[in-house]
Amino acid sequence: MNCVDLRDRVVPWEDGELGPSEALLVERHLDGCASCRAFADRLASTRPAPPPLAVPADVLARLARATDVDLLAARAREPEHRAMPRLFPGRRLNVPLGALLLLLLAAGSVGWGLSAWWRPDRAAPSLAGAEGGTIPVEQFDEAAYEPPATPNGDPAEP
């Protein structure tokens, strides 16, 4: 048995699920191979081993009451809680109908807001030259620019 084969078998071996002849092969390899032994040790130290649990008596009593067959049968007969109907059921695209409607409503509101704000006659924001015209940013000469002489520095009204 080589190391590759061993790595495939060491977990079933540890779990006691290998037949006796294969288990023997694993053990022989581990005896002679330090690196596989180290690998097996690391696996053993991370083996999920749920700690033992003692169930308290009061918990058992609550469990018995909670799992009364008639109680559970009544709940089983209730119609299953239906989540929002899904528009595209499936793992990849699972969009609740409500979420989609909300999105459309939001998009509609934004669209309405934009159309209310935008007016054809309203000048786009720009760097205003002295005559109120616009200067493309790349032509703006910061050194030569003199801000309008208003007390609070606000741009002059066009």
């Binding site: 690391r42 130290s45 169930v55 918990v59 799992t67």
Partner: protein, 206 residues
């Protein structure tokens, strides 16, 4: 039962094998299955009595909380009552119950952790719940569960069934409908990934 030596041999073999497997719980399960033909409610009552404590332990092991574990056990049996195949002869009831319990538990644990992280709270359970004080080696075990939570789905499921459901490889293979070799390889990869994840998480005593 057929006639002739072959049929007799088969019957004997079946008896021997069934005796091997026939722990009290397997016999009780078979009784419940037969009872279901005439009295399904009584049959479910038997199944509940048979499995509720082991299921509670398994859920509690994952959740560290008795109250949540009780709720999980309730959900498991409700699902069993809704499962049409539950009392079919070839249905692996015990394995199925553990599978549902472990999936529900790990999902609840993950959602609860996410909720706690969103709330920016420290990690103990939410108030009003019923934490398990006596969990020996609790912190180490919590770290392993954290790591298992982030494994790929196929590895996580077999890991839970083997180490938290005590199912044999064959039972896992039957319950998930996958080949035995696939069970072995998923467990091997899952265990190897667990080592790496724990190293990344900086777990001591590795």
């Amino acid at each position: 039962m057929g006639d002739g030596p072959k049929a007799a041999a088969r019957a004997l073999l079946k008896l021997v094998r069934s005796e091997d497997r026939a722990t009290a719980s397997a016999r009780a399960d078979e009784d419940a299955r037969r009872l279901a033909e005439t009295d399904p409610t009584a049959a479910y009552a038997r199944i509940i009595a048979l499995h509720r404590e082991p299921l509670l332990r398994r859920a509690a092991t994952i959740l560290s909380d008795w109250e949540e574990a009780i709720e999980i056990v309730q959900e498991v049996f409700i699902k069993a009552m809704r499962e049409q195949r539950f009392f079919d002869a070839d249905f692996h009831r015990r394995a199925w119950l553990f599978r549902v319990a472990s999936n529900l538990s790990i999902n609840l644990r993950r959602d609860r952790q996410r909720h706690i992280r969103l709330q920016k709270r420290a990690s103990p359970p939410l108030t009003g719940l019923d934490p398990i004080e006596s969990l020996i080696g609790g912190r180490r075990h919590e770290q392993i569960l954290d790591a298992i939570e982030i494994l790929p789905d196929d590895q996580r499921e077999v890991m839970l069934l083997r180490y938290y459901g005590d199912l044999s490889y064959i039972e896992i293979s039957d319950t998930l409908g996958i080949k035995l070799g696939t069970v072995m390889s998923r467990l091997s990869r899952g265990r190897a990934e667990l080592v790496e994840v724990l190293e990344i998480l900086g777990v001591e005593d590795l």
